[in-house]
């Protein structure tokens, strides 16, 4: 960020269209990834991994998924945790019923199943938009809640209604400790981020953004709304499905349908609002914020000598959440990502004001 782009001119379109056109950015990114893989496992504690870093990684993946649909394609969905549920239960059933499958294959298949469900529930978006669509997506949420609670086949006829899959085994490597989970999740997230970046750079991403900005004009230039919207629902649900499977297998360990309820959907939505809609970086920032906030709310009052009862803490959490949503919408509707971009712009010119 403290560097200038002087002298970096591109002479081919390929060079101009790269993900990271500035050389220093490339070095920075590589260094960051290396640090993340190599240094962090030695520095952070198990607790940090279990309660902050690992959930952050998984929720970022889900937030990227939701952002593709809401931020890039402009289709609102307030029941998106339902697709995480579909991914989790699909993965569980695959692991139970087809045990010889490699876990990576299971993840992809779970994602595909979630994608199909997502496209199905995305069909209303072809006729309705905005607030009406929001209510329709609630149908997905409540129906999913119901189906996994009632249809016993999904939970393998477990008496308690909750499922507990065995620890994940990948090519003989049992992913058990927090650090091992971290490395695996980080790898998946990086792959997911790259794919999302590629999609948004290509003509599919442009079709999404065109549909978001001016759907009538988009149709006039030949972008089929059906294609744009359903692919958005599909890809987005794929991401959430994979994230859901990871959430269930590698974070929760065992879960019941309420683990993917409306509150999780709202959390995802808040992540992308606060982080920034239409921005991959925003998904990261938003997820970090939402994961860190409850922890901060738990720790800070104690450190300040004003302990809160759990009930009061949760009330205060609600109040702060709500106020922050409104605050962000008023001050910076494009979220933390825009604040970050503004910061970078200022730093490019620093110490000059403009």
């Amino acid at each position: 960020m403290f560097f200038r782009e002087n002298g970096q001119f591109k002479s081919t379109y390929r060079a101009d269209m790269q993900l990271l056109p500035i050389v220093q950015d490339r070095y920075f990114m590589v260094a960051l990834v290396v640090l993340a893989f190599v240094a962090l496992p030695f520095v952070a504690t198990d607790y940090l991994f279990l309660s902050i870093i690992n959930p952050f990684l998984i929720l970022t993946l889900a937030a990227i998924g939701l952002n593709l649909l809401v931020g890039y394609c402009g289709q609102i969905s307030i029941g998106h945790a339902a697709f995480m549920a579909w991914g989790a239960y699909a993965a569980y059933n695959l692991v139970q019923r087809v045990p010889m499958l490699n876990f990576l294959v299971v993840l992809v298949l779970a994602g595909l199943i979630a994608a199909l469900v997502g496209m199905f529930f995305g069909i209303p978006s072809l006729r309705i938009k905005g607030l009406y669509l929001a209510v329709a997506t609630l149908a997905a949420q409540f129906f999913t809640d119901w189906i996994f609670a009632r249809v016993k086949w999904f939970t393998n006829y477990a008496h308690s209604g909750s499922v507990s899959p065995a620890p994940v085994d990948l090519f003989g490597w049992t992913i058990g400790t927090p650090r091992e989970k971290y490395v695996f999740l980080l790898g998946i997230l990086i792959v997911g981020t790259l794919i999302a970046k590629n999609l948004t750079r290509g003509h599919l991403g442009r079709a999404w953004m065109a549909t978001r900005d001016m759907d009538v004009a988009a149709e006039v230039i030949g972008i089929r709304p059906v294609y744009a919207k359903l692919t958005a629902f599909g890809v987005s649900s794929f991401y959430c499905g994979v994230a859901g499977a990871l959430w269930g297998f590698l974070h929760l360990g065992s879960w019941e349908p309420l683990a993917f309820d409306l509150n999780l959907s709202f959390s995802l939505l808040f992540m992308i609002i606060i982080g920034g809609m239409g921005s991959i970086l925003g998904s990261y920032l938003g997820a970090a914020f939402i994961v860190a906030l409850p922890i901060a709310l738990n720790q800070i009052p104690e450190k300040m000598g004003v302990p809160l009862s759990t009930a009061m803490a949760s009330n205060v959490e609600f109040m702060i959440f709500g106020s922050l949503i409104v605050l962000f919408l008023v001050l910076e509707p494009h979220g933390l990502a825009r604040l970050w971009a503004i910061g970078k712009e200022k730093l490019r010119l620093w110490p000059f004001p403009h």
Partner: protein, 280 residues
Amino acid sequence: MASIPVQAEPVTAAPRATAPAPGRLGTVILSVEHISLFFGGVKALSDVSFDVREHEVLAIIGPNGAGKSSMLNVINGVYQPQQGRIRFRDEAFAVMHPHRAATMGIARTFQSLALFKGMTVLDNIMTGRNLKMHAGILAQALRIGPAEREEIRHREAVERIIDFLEIQAYRKTPVGRLAYGLQKRVDLGRALASEPTVLLLDEPMAGMNVEEKQDMCRFVLDLNEQYGTTIVLIEHDMGVVMDISDRIVVLDYGRKIGDGSPDEVRRNQAVIDAYLGTAH
């Protein structure tokens, strides 16, 4: 009207400077037949029919609210007329959909711009190429060979359009930040990106000063003369209309009240009464 049947040069991916053939107007390429359009109780268009010949510049003029934009919307398929048909080349359509119009080579600009505010100039014009880009989702996701090469190929085509419209300096600017005149050029560029056979322009010179209008006229005439694009434009500036059109259609309260060459329309009494007025 007898017309010299000249075969049009096919418009290919690389726009060439084809010299216009003598008697450059071709056969009828687009015709609207008895179009009527209602919105609830409001009659936007009543039994409007006219032809558009290939390679010609046809202007649609008339007072505000005469139904000019609605006419373009009908041709494009944005509105479905209650009566009448659109005939393109040899096929007749009672119902046109925007996507079909786009695939057939009809493109348009909008009176209210309708640009994609969240994207840069380059991306806006690239969306115009969407119809021609076929890489699958997986190929795009992994950005492997065919997807990357297709992206580069279409980038080259779009850059040629950017050169033509002289907006190179703004290619990475978000369109929302551009001046109005430049936004109009981006709108035009987006329409051109699909290499249309017929280009519908909805008030392309609205809100422009004299210099900007001259630039736009130049673009329109270059398109028509060099690439043979058929142009249907709505315009209020009579000077421009009389100068560049081959034929003019006049609408008033949703009805056609004039149809002919600029001279004929200038002398048409009904048109003078409704719209042109007389010089005092």
